[in-house]
Symmetry: C2
Subunit: 351 residues, 2 copies
């Protein structure tokens, strides 16, 4: 069964998203910025972190589950380190401020690490690593999230998909960009297999509800995503949890709420790292070295069944070039759900 799509250009999609956010009570300046971050994810083809998040955000915001006005505050700043409290502010607004801090501190001290507590969902991590990278730094970002993933050998969720994301500065910006959940695949891929009527999913994607690895789509839907490669993904998720939650003094593991939970603040954590490349070598030299390295990857003879070797970020840049011209295809189901969300805040979907 072919999926139906509504195709919309980035600009009207941004305007629509901003209207919905304003309808939920967000100031117009903030709404425009948040809409921009979401549509950037759609342009890159990362639709799970694009405007479909508004179905969660808008209701959360309209019910004042988060503080729409605050920008949070600095708890401590010392050398290249900072603890920041988001004060239950909007994840994107707070992350924007914190990335400015991480940039300033890395320029002053060479390396910086800002850890953030009591925050909300910040969208795609790539947006923030790229913001840091555009200031001439290697930008790294992490976050924790609603517990969905069990520790290895366990059968109850203790972690979010706790992503690891790194972006590169200067002309190296488009040579490589890593943004990966520490699960084998995002839960969205399992939902998609279900939606498409696939009876099975590949081994290594999911557990059933008892924590037993399964390839049965129906069992996986009721189960949990698997940490990347088993115990190693569990270790990476814990590494992220330590940097964003233990170190920030914020909510850890099962203390974190969620975008579907209305009874308590989400309280997720984020961490941002900046590394001032120019202190190691001139940026153009760094770029030339990255060119050599990605060239060395891309010239690797492809294995059977593949036509080329890619580097991280490449599929998304290709997609962005295409979608900037052709527009963004949103699944009809997503579009209709967005329209229902919009209606709740008295916004009309564009034609």
């Amino acid at each position: 069964m072919a999926e139906e799509y509504v195709v919309i250009q980035a600009e009207p999609l941004r305007a629509y998203a901003a209207q919905m956010l304003e309808g939920a009570g967000v100031s117009s300046e903030r709404a425009a910025f948040i809409a921009h971050t979401l549509v950037e994810a759609n342009l890159r083809g990362v639709d799970s972190h694009g405007v479909q998040l508004l179905n969660f955000y808008v209701e959360h915001m309209a019910m004042r589950c988060m503080d729409l006005e605050t920008s949070g505050h600095v708890v401590t700043e010392s050398g290249g380190t900072m603890t920041y409290s988001a004060d239950n502010g909007i994840g994107q607004i707070v992350s924007d401020v914190c990335c400015d801090h991480v940039i300033r501190l890395a320029k002053e001290h060479g390396v910086s690490l800002v850890t953030v507590r009591d925050s909300n969902h910040f969208g795609a991590a790539a947006f923030w690593s790229q913001k840091i990278a555009r200031a001439g730094l290697i930008g790294v970002s992490f976050c924790n999230a609603t517990p969905l993933v069990p520790p290895w050998q366990g059968k109850e969720p203790r972690f979010g998909t706790n992503p690891i994301c790194m972006a590169l500065p200067g002309a190296a910006e488009t040579s490589w960009l890593l943004d990966m959940a520490t699960t084998t695949v995002a839960m969205g891929k399992i939902f998609k297999a279900n939606f498409s009527g696939e009876p099975t999913i590949p081994a290594g994607w999911a557990f059933d509800s008892e924590g037993v690895p399964t390839t049965d789509t129906q069992k996986a839907i009721k189960g949990m995503p698997m940490p990347l490669g088993g115990y190693k993904g569990y270790g990476l998720a814990m590494m992220v949890e330590i940097l964003v939650a233990v170190l920030s003094g914020g909510a850890m593991s099962t203390e974190v709420g969620g975008v579907r939970i209305r009874t308590r603040p989400m309280r997720c954590g984020q961490a941002f790292i900046g590394i001032d490349v120019a202190r190691y070598m001139p940026l153009n030299e760094f770029h030339a070295r990255m060119d050599w390295l990605t060239g060395n990857m891309k010239s690797t003879p492809p294995s059977a069944g593949f036509e080329e070797v890619l580097v991280a970020g490449e599929p998304e840049w290709r997609m962005a070039r295409k979608r900037k011209v052709d527009g963004i295809p949103l699944a009809k189901g997503v579009w209709e759900e967005l329209a229902r969300t919009a209606a709740k805040v008295n916004v009309k979907a564009p034609q």
Copy 2:
């Protein structure tokens, strides 16, 4: 077929290892230190990174493939950043100096990152992260290595097993320790399956020599280890390569030699990060939070077939407690190979 072991206590094993290193031309002080780092890995049960490395090291050293006297030199230092040239010195000697630098710089600036070029094999990454952690910091270490692993969709090696390692300070030291290759398993596990006569290995461990995933042990032996979880492990390996090789100005990817290659220096790279936890919160608070978090993992109900949930580092601490008392069992084949290596430098194996 049961494997036969020679069991030896840590102290005489250290002395034996040190004698072999001295036999290869290393000063007695340096030899004792390197022997200590190797036996620490054996105590933790990480035998692949213990004294069996001497079979490579000793010949390499005796042939002066590395510089046994140098400690390398600082190329640049600025804020919390440093580029260090190992000048083809011994990996453990140079890493010890660089960890001292990373500790000093993190104490001065809060966060530090030392990247190292033209180095040699540094043993287990855990030793270095733990050294940094014992100074009250979160300690992180990375390295690249001899190309063995192909990029995803490629069929020729471009990466080492490029590990990611993080250790925690103070009383949190033994609450969690991550030290993981960015491949699904170490090549040693595939060798072991072969040695034990297992016809197949689990899916996801290896490619055949054409870069096609295989579960045939014989094809895997002639093939390549698989990046952890496929394209994500490839992304993580590249992240490591950027921090240790692109940023250091050293050898990248296929430019890196190896412990089995005698015709050119290894030129591997390392990177060390220090994060001064006390600038974020008192160390005892950090420890209490880690206790809560690891407790939250360990209290997760185990899934079918498992008796408990562990945290990273726990199997190794258990092993170390046992081996400190019972001694270190070395496979008879490893012991005999060591004896042959020792004989080459006129050292007699202990009885």
